[in-house]
């Protein structure tokens, strides 16, 4: 089981801030999880997502394990008014 967090515009679009997912096979990657989430929440496939695993930016090839925290985030927009 992994924990998935959505932020900003993606929390608005999906209607949830947090969900949980079973990894379907050993060696499943962030990319596999994104495909699954895309189906479940009708996420636009080409939007530029920022991804993190356990609070560190990660790319889609990252292999996940049970207990990981995955964040699916819109591009950051801090710092300016």
């Amino acid at each position: 089981m992994i924990r998935v967090l959505f932020f900003g515009m993606l929390a608005t679009k999906t209607g949830v801030r947090e969900t949980h997912l079973e990894l379907k096979r050993p060696g499943a990657t962030l990319s596999d999880v994104m495909e699954e989430l895309g189906k479940r929440f009708a996420l636009p496939p080409k939007a530029p997502y920022m991804l993190a695993v356990n609070e560190a930016q990660a790319d889609p090839s990252t292999v996940l394990k049970d207990g990981d925290e995955v964040a699916v985030m819109p591009p950051f927009s801090g710092g300016l008014g």
């Binding site: 967090l5 900003g8 609070e55 964040a71 985030m73 950051f76 927009s77 710092g79 008014g81």
Partner: protein, 146 residues
Amino acid sequence: MTPAIEDKPVRIQEGDFSVEEEVDRIKQSSRGIGAVVAFLGVARDSSGGKAIMSVSFEQYASMALKALEALREDALRRFDIIDARIVHRVTAINPGGNIVLITVASAHREEAFRACSWCIDTLKKTVPLWKKETTPEGESWVVPHA
């Protein structure tokens, strides 16, 4: 003794900060400081022709603080500077209100300018913070320029 929250060199907080206090704190790191460069981000009353009534920031709290700490460490390694401090607010902020303050201290001014400018550029790219604008038409999340 744990230092007071306000003494931490990177912070994400709801409340406002004092520019004077941040500058005073960084000046206390060394008597070799000759230059302090500060960048203050302020909420504007308009953006691309739209009136902005307020902006508010959301964060991925645990990751944002780590990313901000990593940003400071990276700046201290990359530039010949003495210290750097960063404070970012997450709350609704009216026009004229403070959003972020980055202060960098160094012996010589060129490095402080370079490092301070690098810090705000890098903060925008590496720290999970999202801005929502409230306009007369309602609220909308901001999509940054590529």
